[in-house]
């Protein structure tokens, strides 16, 4: 079927593809937001791996197509056959086995990484039966010993407002998390399904009204992030955002005590926009659910604004 020269050419092409796909796979880390949790590192490793495989397959097939377009064009009047081959059992078995092995490999990798996330705390709402407890083989950066979360914060989502209740019964519209400690979030929704999502954390969890859903995460990078609602929740869906602060334990505790003593002024984007809609070119005047008044908001002292 092929001449020696063609085999050499193909081997060379595969080698080049491997180098390119490996390189693009390395680039994939930079396409993601910063890694702010241990979970994020795992997810990005997986993404890089998937990108490498994907680029290899994509460029491999596109390369063949482009090669055919360049070298196998027929003259306009030539309607004779290209090659008489109707199939080749060996080739077909090969290209059935290849994706099979690839997806088994991908699935095992994903399963391993999922197990690590799980041990770190993507714990389940409904235990219908216990998932397989297989400790993953490679655990370089973080110890994978399951540990109880050191903090528990209640998260309340309603249209279109986030509020958080801290262990000392302080309630705020901002989520503050101590760095390098695992925090358990008890997610609760009041009216419709919302979603807890901070892109830098790589974690997302829908919050279903009437269910208590837990999420455990370990932030590892100080900074200010945005918490977003990830499940469509109606008119002001895009405005359901709030600030997330990851800070040292001292700062976190300092903020808690300050907030407990500070006055409360509710402030909420959805409420504000409902009262004073922005000027748009088209105004439909269609019905919308009135935003719930924010439960509470805290005016924060400037000292915490880092």
């Amino acid at each position: 079927m092929f001449s020696v020269f063609e085999y050499v050419l193909m081997a060379f092409y595969v080698a080049v593809l491997m180098i390119i796909s490996r390189w693009i796979g390395q680039q994939a880390f930079s396409w993601m937001p910063p890694q702010a949790t241990t979970e994020a590192q795992r997810v990005d490793d997986l993404f890089s791996f998937l990108v490498s495989i994907g680029v290899f397959i994509f460029l491999g097939l596109i390369g063949i197509m482009v090669y055919a377009i360049v070298f196998h064009r027929a003259s306009p009047k030539d309607y004779s056959e290209g090659h008489p081959s109707r199939g080749d059992a060996r080739l077909e078995i090969l290209w059935t086995a290849t994706p099979t092995l690839l997806v088994v490999w991908i699935a095992l990798q994903s399963f391993n990484i999922y197990q690590q996330l799980n041990i770190l705390g993507l714990n389940q709402i409904v235990h219908l039966h216990t998932p397989l407890e297989s400790a993953p083989a490679y655990a370089a950066t973080v110890s994978d010993v399951p540990k109880p979360a050191s903090e528990t914060i209640d998260v309340f989502a309603k249209q279109w407002d986030w509020s958080f209740r801290y262990p000392n019964n302080v309630t705020s519209n901002q989520l503050h998390l101590p760095i390098n400690r695992s925090t358990r979030l008890n997610l609760q929704a009041q009216d419709v399904i919302h979603g807890f999502y901070v892109p830098e954390f790589r974690l997302k969890q829908d919050i279903v009204p009437g269910r208590k859903i837990n999420l455990v995460l370990t932030p590892i990078r100080e900074g200010k992030y945005r918490l977003k609602d990830s499940q469509f929740s109606g008119t002001y869906f895009a405005l359901m955002e709030t600030d997330v602060y990851v800070e040292s334990l001292d700062k976190y505790n300092q903020w808690l005590t300050q907030t407990a003593n500070s006055e409360q002024t509710p402030a909420n984007q959805a409420v504000a926009e409902n009262i004073q809609p922005p000027k748009t070119l088209f105004n439909s005047g269609w019905y919308t659910v009135a935003p719930a008044q924010p439960a509470v908001a805290n005016k924060r002292k400037l000292t915490n604004d880092t």
Binding site: W31, P33, R42, L46, L50, G54, I57, F58, L61, I62, M65, A68, I69, H72, R73, A74, P76, K77, Y79, S80, G82, H83, S85, D88, T96, P99, T100, L102, V103, S110, F111, Y114, L117, N118, V126, V192, I193, G195, P199, L203, K204, V208, P209, I213, R226, K228, S230, Q231, F232, G234, T235, A238, L239, E273, P277, S284, G285, W286, Y287, V289
Partner: protein, 558 residues
């Protein structure tokens, strides 16, 4: 797959029974006609109009997203726009267009005079225009259209003004149930036709892959559509009659709706995609002059995709309070989809390999679509991996991925099909130069628009937002400009189709020198399709046969 009367394949004799009727034929398309060819054209033209409407909505959405703040449409209208865009594009464009194309081609390809149930066929088409108009009419309601996305998840979809019985959501549900009834009728018809109406000698493994793919897709309609209908009816009861199936504050369970919904709406993706793969399998061999490589395994892979797709629906719900064992199970099943689709992609590539390529418009669209399908498939495997999906679920990465499938693959395949069978359907030839222009105006902006969505999603921009953080503006502007070009690309297409249909040069019976029974009839085919029912003696894609290689008549309508 040839027909024994070896008529010269390029003979441009005009069909006798079609001559003196040309000034009256347009009336047929507005009548309750039971001929599958008329019904097919009715479907295709009507759905194309809905495609244009859906595209306009999409351009409005993209215009709103040019800037971070909300300044073109107010938020309820924006939510109505993306809801209607999704609904129209899926339920009034791709699925019914495929039904129309299948309607036209399946009887011709298997050597039948018509579908099994011609009257049912006409009814299943005529349900659609009222249902579509009903859906569009909700724009004129005082409180507007449905605004809960095309998923229409409760409880958000149940939040409608309480004092109005007829509201956007109500109309949306009724319209979708009607379209579902139409689809079921069509599915019964197709499965029966393919089972019982095949010509003598047309065994299953002599059927073109397009027929296989229609068969698989319509089986999925039969098996899975009832789940959606049930979900919609329960939702309607919740919405209008005070039941509490999905209301969490009354012990209902909104997650059950998601399961019922995706139990149909994931297979729906394959109901849309399988005919597209079938089109690739017809067009690629014809223009590469090679038999379809590994025909038998491609046919079986088609059924395999259909079978696997029934068991993957939870991958849309990885973040929806889904327990870990379920996440892992459905991750594994979703990965399985890559195997039969991989077989197909490799078979297309091997068909093109060492071929004699003729790059006419249908081939450009088919190759472009196949190439972009590989990209969409790669991102699809990524999304099947649960840990990664948890990050990008509900972001623009997903939007980019499925638009690579539904636009860059399926709609490209549909365009390939329109150009490929245009001479057969209309009896005239389209303008090749305009066709090529249309291809480049579609291919490049489509990639610009939908590729841009992937980085946005990785960075965490959520889908369905009407305003966004300023950091996302760059890619959004690129995507929006691409989408406006994409909208403009339909203009040369419309001009070409309308002009060629009216004034194009007369087409010969088989302008592409292609195999397949549909090319043995005149263009357009006579009312009963065949003077006498052909007897099939050969496997499909018989491109080595001198009958197709020797050009007797150089004039093939170009």
């Amino acid at each position: 797959m040839t027909h024994d009367l070896s008529e010269d394949i390029t003979g441009d004799q005009e069909s006798k029974n079609y001559q003196n009727k040309s000034e009256n034929t347009w009336r047929e398309y507005f009548s309750f006609n039971t001929d599958h060819k008329v019904i097919g054209v009715q479907y295709m033209v009507m759905t194309f109009i809905f495609f244009l409407i859906g595209g306009l909505l999409a351009m409005l959405i993209r215009a709103e997203l040019l800037t971070p703040e909300s300044n073109l449409v107010d938020r309820p209208l924006y939510n109505g726009l993306f809801t209607m865009h999704g609904t129209i594009m899926i339920f009034l464009w791709i699925i019914p267009f495929n039904a129309g194309l299948s309607n036209y081609l399946v009887p011709l390809m298997i050597g039948a005079r018509d579908m099994s149930f011609p009257l049912l066929n006409a009814i299943s088409f005529w349900i659609l225009p009222p249902a579509g108009l009903l859906l569009l009419s909700s724009f004129f309601l005082p409180n507007g259209t449905a605004q809960a996305g095309w998923w229409s998840y409760p409880p958000i979809s149940l939040q409608v003004p309480g004092d109005q019985f007829i509201n956007g959501e109500f109309i949306w549900i009724v319209s979708l149930v009607l379209i579902g009834i139409s689809s079921i009728m069509g599915a019964v018809n197709f499965v029966t036709t393919i089972f019982w109406m095949r010509a003598p000698g047309m065994t299953f493994f002599r059927m073109p892959v397009f027929v296989w793919s229609v068969f698989s897709a319509q089986l999925l309609q039969l098996i899975n559509l009832p789940a959606l209908t049930a979900a919609l009816i329960l939702l309607l009861f919740d919405l209008s009659f005070g039941t509490q199936f999905f209301k969490p504050d009354a012990n209902g369970d909104p997650i059950i709706y998601q399961h019922l919904f995706w139990f149909y709406s994931h297979p729906a993706v394959y109901i849309m995609a399988l005919p597209a793969f079938g089109i690739f399998a017809e067009v690629l061999p014809a223009f590469s002059r090679n038999p379809l490589f590994g025909y038998r395994s491609v046919a079986i892979a088609t059924l395999g995709i259909a079978a696997v797709s029934i068991f993957v629906w939870v991958h849309h719900m990885f973040t929806s309070a889904t327990p870990g064992w379920m996440r892992m199970t459905f991750m594994a099943t979703s990965m399985l989809v890559a195997i039969p689709t991989g077989i197909k992609a490799f078979a297309w590539t091997a068909t093109i390999w060492r071929s004699k390529l003729h790059l006419e418009t249908p081939m450009l669209f088919a190759m472009g679509g196949a190439a972009m399908f590989i990209f969409g498939g790669v991102t699809g495997v990524m999304l099947a991996a649960t840990p990664f999906d948890i990050h990008v679920n509900n972001t623009y990465f997903v939007v980019g991925h499925f638009h690579y499938i539904v636009f860059n693959t399926i709609t490209m395949a549909i365009f390939a099909a329109i150009y490929y069978w245009f001479p057969k359907i209309t009896g005239r030839m389209y303008a090749e130069g305009w066709g090529k222009l249309h291809f480049w105006l579609t291919f490049i902006p489509a990639n610009i628009t939908f590729f841009s969505m992937h980085p946005l999603g990785l960075q965490g921009m959520l889908r369905r937002v009407s305003s966004y953080d300023p950091q996302y503006q760059g890619w959004n502007v690129i995507a929006s400009l691409g989408s406006f070009l994409l909208g403009a690309s339909t203009l040369p297409f419309i001009a070409n189709m309308v002009g060629s249909w009216l004034y194009g040069p007369k087409a010969v019976n088989n302008p592409w020198h292609a195999t397949g029974l549909e090319w043995t009839t005149s263009s357009p085919p006579p009312p009963e399709n065949f003077q006498e029912i052909p007897v099939v003696t050969k496997p499909p894609y018989d491109y080595g046969d001198p009958k197709y290689s020797v050009v007797l008549d150089a004039d093939n309508g170009e």
